[in-house]
């Protein structure tokens, strides 16, 4: 497992470090690597933008089949129910694409009831979500 505590001053460096550690330990194709990077940027930047605490604990674990990313907001959580959408936002809409992209790329994506803990599963085998 890889874990780190990210905040508004270290998040960019820490995300790069976590991606390097993951790359050293398991083999992922370019799209899988991109998806891990996207999930980290989207969820951590959400915490930095909207959380009351601007701190997140991030855990990355893996098996032969999946990579599981857990992001825990140390603040009061996030009202995610209205933000999840299966359709892409219209061109004139400013935001709303971050969680939409994660929904499209991940095999599984959920929040707990308080919106503090997000769990994302990414398939490692081709063809399970994209090929």
């Amino acid at each position: 497992m890889i874990q780190a505590q990210l905040n508004e001053t270290n998040y960019s460096t820490m995300i790069s470090a976590m991606l390097e550690q993951l790359d050293d330990r398991i083999q992922l194709d370019d799209m899988q690597k991109y998806t891990v990077q996207l999930v980290l940027w989207e969820l951590v930047s959400n915490v930095i933008r909207y959380s009351t605490k601007k701190d997140a604990n991030v855990y990355i674990s893996w098996s032969d089949e999946t990579v599981v990313i857990e992001v825990i907001d140390q603040g009061d959580g996030f009202e995610w129910e209205n933000q999840l959408n299966n359709l892409p936002p219209h061109f004139t809409q400013q935001g709303g694409r971050g969680l939409f992209l994660i929904q499209q790329l991940a095999t599984h994506f959920s929040f707990d009831e308080k919106g503090k803990r997000a769990i994302i599963t990414i398939a490692r085998k081709k063809g399970e979500k994209y090929d």
Binding site: D30, E42, S45, P88, G95, R97, G98, L101
Partner: protein, 97 residues
Amino acid sequence: MIDIVTYDDKIVVSFQQDINFETSRVMEEMIQSRPWDTSHLQIDLSAVRFIDSSGVRLLISWLYPLKDRMHIEMIGVSAPIKHILSICQLDQIVDVK
């Protein structure tokens, strides 16, 4: 961060680093300060390895209002970025190569 070169027949915009939550605000200020008077806009993403939703938002808010006034094409787009742009339907308003 962004190189902009104006030719007789086109403007070429080359992004020199990733377009993400950390970089997109300054990039947007550079982009929105220009008039974009051209019939052909070429966007070079060959130095860009990663675009997040902030980057997609930047591209859409810049390019959607221009789409009926000029031909817009993107070159040097990696396969993962192409996939991201397709999910967000940016390939409907831009010729992604």
